[in-house]
Subunit: 252 residues, 2 copies
């Protein structure tokens, strides 16, 4: 079983609020329609410009502290479902039997980490040979009231809870770089071990972007599972990675 | 706490596939925005013409028997979420802090009855003073693979699991009639006890429509809770029922 994470910055335009990148979703869907013939897949996607602006405006990641945030909880959930429906419509059009599973209905966090889950529906969907689709969401937090549960944390949780062999992170850049890829001398890391990864995530040298740091911190929890980082905005990279031809970063 | 069930035949046009009745949803949302100031509400809605045509086409209520049904599971879930999002957009516009909870992510059935549930997110949403919104859905069934979980069954399950004082069923007719209301001599039943109700649901006399029979069978499981049946397509009926002025059928 493979978990594919479609990053929020790949499937949406993060520079413009509520702007999907439909060609990227369509491309993922087309590739998955071929992949699902031989592989069992779980798809998890991020929120990008459908989640972050609202979560930030209503300070949802600081927990529940004020009634004015209720509107924000409501709107963020609605907005994430809108993005999820766009992705699902691409998948259904490509004849992928995709089924959404709302994370806020089956996960509860304690201090921003998943502490309770209800995985029976996901297991059942996989048994039926359907493809479960999850996403970053505003979820209940037993300490903070609510919190943001990132798609990346869902991936690392499911990778441990289910029999997952490989996790593919689809980004809007080619993979992990030696420093922020906006610098000219940044170099793509093609192959790295989990122990070397820990030295990158442990440092505060600003070598990688803030978003990548959070991702690497989740990835470091997946030791023992093969992890690929690929550029989802480039054609065919997902299909190639599934076939073992990773045009990006290979972590093992 | 009050559970409001918005019937699929009230919020959609059942004679035309995928046709919402937006003015009815808007009316419910406007009434709920006043009601939620003093009452804690759970909203559950049916599928109407967003659920039944697909569920029937793909024989989803007969359980999983054929790979051709996968497309049906996928499409029905997508379609129910579409209807749910329409309702949510009305609620959000009316400043109701509504939060969808996907039933297929938190309920599992065995032979069409709920056998497992994960209610923590619903309880948390209520604690935050948000309004959880659930709906009829295609859910996992440990015996049949999948089944249709009706909004009515969700209502009777939650009525027992949580501290619910009243359940209001919003219909497209005024309430329970002595026979199918399309007959001229059908009379509205204004007040009925649970024991008299059992004599109606127990009979096979064709006194009520098939849809109403299923509903009454769920209602008969709610003895001890006040149940109202009202016409949701008429203005103000929901607000009146909450205030104790039931223009329809009162079951107690």
């Amino acid at each position: 079983m493979i978990i594919v994470k479609a990053g929020g910055s790949a499937i949406t335009d993060k520079t413009q609020d509520f702007t999907p990148r439909l060609p990227v979703m369509e491309g993922v869907a087309a590739q998955l329609s071929r992949i699902t013939a031989t592989e069992q897949i779980i798809l998890v996607h991020g929120g990008g410009s459908y989640g972050h602006p609202l979560a930030k405006e209503f300070e949802l990641n600081k927990g529940f502290h004020d009634k004015s945030q209720l509107e924000g909880i409501s709107q963020t959930r609605y907005s994430m479902t809108e993005l999820n429906q766009l992705f699902l419509s691409c998948l259904i059009r490509n004849r992928v039997p995709a089924v959404a599973v709302q994370p806020s209905a089956c996960f509860v966090c304690t201090s921003k980490r998943i502490s309770l889950s209800f995985l029976e529906p996901i297991k059942n969907i996989l048994e039926l040979q359907c493809l479960p689709v999850l996403y970053g969401d505003v979820v209940s937090d037993s300490k903070m009231g609510v919190c943001i549960l990132s798609g990346d944390q869902i991936v690392s949780y499911l990778a441990h809870a289910l029999s997952v062999e490989k996790v593919i992170f689809g980004l809007e850049v080619d993979g992990l770089y030696t420093k922020d890829p906006q610098y000219e001398d940044a170099e793509l890391v093609k192959d790295i071990t989990f122990s070397d990864l820990n030295s990158i995530t442990g440092g505060e040298t600003g070598d990688v972007t803030k978003g990548m740091k959070g991702k690497l911190s989740e990835i470091s929890k997946m030791e023992g599972i093969e992890v690929n980082l690929i550029n989802l905005t480039k054609e065919g990279t997902l299909l190639k990675a599934v076939q073992g031809n990773v045009e990006g970063t290979w972590i093992r």
